[in-house]
Amino acid sequence: MSLIKNLHQKLIKKEVSAVDLVNQSFKLIEEKDKDLKAFITLTKEEALKEAEKIDKKISQGEEIDLISGLPFALKDNILTKGIKTTAASKILADYYGSYDATVFKKLKEKGAILVGKTNLDEFAMGSSTENSAFFTTKNPYDLERVAGGSSGGSAVAVSSSMAVFALGSDTGGSIREPAAFCGVVGFKPSYGSVSRYGLIPMASSLDVIGPITKTVEDARIIFETIAGKDEFDATSFDLKKEKNSKKEIIIGLDEEFLAEGVAEEIKEKFLSVIKKIEEFGLKIKNIDLTLNPYALSCYYIIMPAEVSANLARYDGLRYSSLKDTNFKNLEDIYFKNRGLGFGKEVRRRILLGTYVLSHGYYDAYYRKAQKVRRLIKEEYEKQFQQVDFIISPTTPTLPFKIGEKISDPLAMYLSDIFTVGANIAGLPAINLPIGFSKSNLPIGLQITAPYKKDFDLLDFSQQIEKLVNF
């Protein structure tokens, strides 16, 4: 089942070399990426050098790690020392990471091989990668449609086998939605279970890094590699692996999630999976997440507020600056760099965040949202006393046409309607591919688990993955 384990076996049996795997990745990138546009930066030279090292280890009979020699991709908002890290923004177009993100360091230590940095919506703000300052990533199943976002490049890299696995970041659905649109597994871990050190921050109380893979087992292998307490991220912690001793699993389903606005084909596919689950003998219980319709409103206050604070650091001085521009004075540097360096969506969110935090509006918007956030968290906690997991579709629609929603921000925001709840409450949630529409577009299922029950979620998802495939 696991692609990673399968390739690892081939490597240690010397049926294939790490150099072969890297070359294979770049062959696919050369063939496909001119159309798909998943990558911003490629690291072929370094990758081949690293692969040779792994092959040498294997030939000398040294033991290698499960992910050693396997090509992977990183979303370009994850810092890589000496390698361009742009966040798909003009304001960082010439920025090279000055240190390695903890997740990258951990993967490198195990011998995994970086093949490139992937495209995203600028600073991870969007649901389609159309907000990238450089180009739009295309859906591998239909080049006229979006790959989803913001981790669209990472999802496409895995979906098209240009990388064995990839990392994305998820603030409101940015791992799960592109995974659903590209037919791959996308896992958003519990807030704090993976270090954010070296992740270019968007909304710090919501951001989390997670894997995008072909199978659930692969997602678990990568999650175990990157998770854990990090002295450079004060919110990080070690997740305990407890053996789940419960005999009967109860799955929660809120029928409101299938109400108007959900594409008919997604509904059908979702219900057919529910039927399979019931036939298998698992119990489904109806629940009422009455506050879920408010999660997106809550998100579009808290997130921009944090964005406006986090992006204040881009002053045109510390990271990189516009070239060939004469600046009158210090303020002029700020206004010009930020005005020209940030794209439309980023500017929109900065202004919105500034508004909800400003005097006279703070209580009505920001404080109100933080109170509702508490209520949403408590409602999840209450529901999880009755059920072990909650399932829903991952997205309300199939991958949409490029350009379809770009001039209507609110319509774009609604793509995240099923995914934001997990971020607001800090919960682990995963996208599993469950099949295709008649037009051959991928459809995803989302499973959400209680806070810190990441391993239970992965165990259960493996079970569902099997059920769906057979």
Partner: protein
Amino acid sequence: MDFQEINHLLKLSRLEIAEEEKQDISNQLEEILNYVQKLSEIPTENIEPVNGGTTLINIFRSDENPRIFEKTEDLIEMFFEEENRYLKIPPIFEDNN
């Protein structure tokens, strides 16, 4: 949202945008603010707001063996302009003479 308010927000955020973009921004912000207004339907009296995404409590360490910051050179290298390890910026006050 009128232009005066938009201009104020732009100033607070240190953003410069083209005049013709302001109408769009104003409409879009209004639409989004209308949407999030939905929250007012939920009673939140006596509810403690969430601060940050974590339930962890701040832990202070003793002020001993401070970590030496090792990335100074990398940061200087990224900076706009430097001279003899001083970071250089254009004048803060304009000289009109």
